[in-house]
Symmetry: C2
Subunit: 214 residues, 2 copies
DNA sequence: GTCTATAATGAGATAGAC
DNA sequence: GTCTATCTCATTATAGAC
């Protein structure tokens, strides 16, 4: 086996561990299963990491770091905010959930692992903060394109979107009822679009009442 | 140790296992931890169950069987459907989530265990079917008391409620932000109450304009 | 029926040669 | 740096006395 830097080796191990977790769950990710997947010896594992726990902490941090809401951002927002929300949720659902159920299941398992593991509970919170921050950005872009503004703080709207996405995903993982999930998306699009209100036009001074930080 | 029937002993083991899982998670529920909690010997465990897997399957089935949405049904629905929804969600959130976070976490873990374990995947679906059935009953009672009817099939409304409850619970478990959760509940009450429409009075013929299938 | 004792397996981690 | 071989411990499960 070719020599490689410690950083690369650690990354290679984390990637192999993620593949094992996707296939067999967190409990199936034993050191032996991981090194078999990575094609290396058990000793190499313990050369790169002092313990399995250390590796798992790095894995969770890596996932939290790299997880983006890619499916959402693939969408271009149009002028109709309801359609934009519906299409974005549908894209998330079809691309991130239905097309790859294992991935979302792994996200939930890792969140619970983080909540259960002393010292990394904060990573569960960070995972959600990142989701919400990503969704907030999309909601602001969507509002701009549609010429509306949100009647609630955008962070609150983002939390609603993430709440619905989580519930939608869990429910579908349980019963795989895609048609029912689409009806949930229609309801969500109806409800969320009611939080939009016409934005002041550009010809008016928009920062009169609420100064914005540059 | 007093002798007891096999059924009682199995039940006692399952109860002890649930306590261990609440404290340490599914992975912490080793046979040793369980028998220590139950105050019996390892051999007694294997007299009652042939294997740990068999016990876990019975445990999941027991939870699915006995899980009710108790917090919801503690509520009496008033005449205002929005208030009823808000109070019910708040009661669920405060009584079942905040007051006992471990319980809901265990529910999620057991669902994932079921999804991962060959032969009991159907229990995850049953778990959700039971939630939705219980919520459906409450929604029908609430509609009757408020003099409204749901503009969607009540099963669809129930799915929406469960979707939001799941998302609400997961989000709170991650960041413990109770104030933000309450804002989600307000939004849910607004959105769900829009699915209510005035029920025909008993003196009018209710199927004149919109024929319903019996 | 319940116990003590132990077999059998698989886990994480380490020693030491190369 | 990487390997083989091994250690130590915890796990599930079973055997056999009472």
């Amino acid at each position: 086996m070719a020599r490689m830097s410690s950083v690369d080796r650690r990354h290679e191990i984390v990637q192999a561990a993620l593949r094992v977790i996707a296939a067999d769950g967190v409990s199936g990710a034993t050191t032996r299963a991981i090194v078999a997947e990575a094609g290396m010896s058990l000793a190499s594992f313990h050369y790169a990491f002092t313990s399995r726990d250390e590796m798992m902490r790095e894995l969770v941090a890596y996932v939290v770091e790299s997880e983006t809401v890619a499916a959402f951002s693939a969408l271009r927002f149009g002028t109709d905010i309801r359609t934009s929300i519906r299409d974005s949720l549908t894209a998330y659902f079809e691309l991130a959930v239905v097309a790859d159920p294992g991935h979302e299941q792994v996200m939930f398992e890792l969140m619970q692992y983080a909540l259960r593991t002393p010292g990394i509970e904060h990573l569960a919170r960070e995972q959600y903060d990142r989701y919400r921050a990503a969704v907030s950005g999309l909601l602001e872009t969507g509002a701009e394109n549609a010429g509306i503004r949100w009647s609630l703080p955008v962070e609150d709207v983002a939390r609603l979107v993430v709440t619905i996405s989580d519930g939608l995903t869990l429910g579908w993982l349980a019963d795989r009822d895609t048609a029912a999930a689409m009806r949930v998306i229609e309801f969500a699009a109806d409800s969320l679009s009611r939080l939009a209100e016409p934005a002041p036009t550009n010809s008016t001074v928009r920062t009169t009442t609420k100064e914005r930080s540059a």
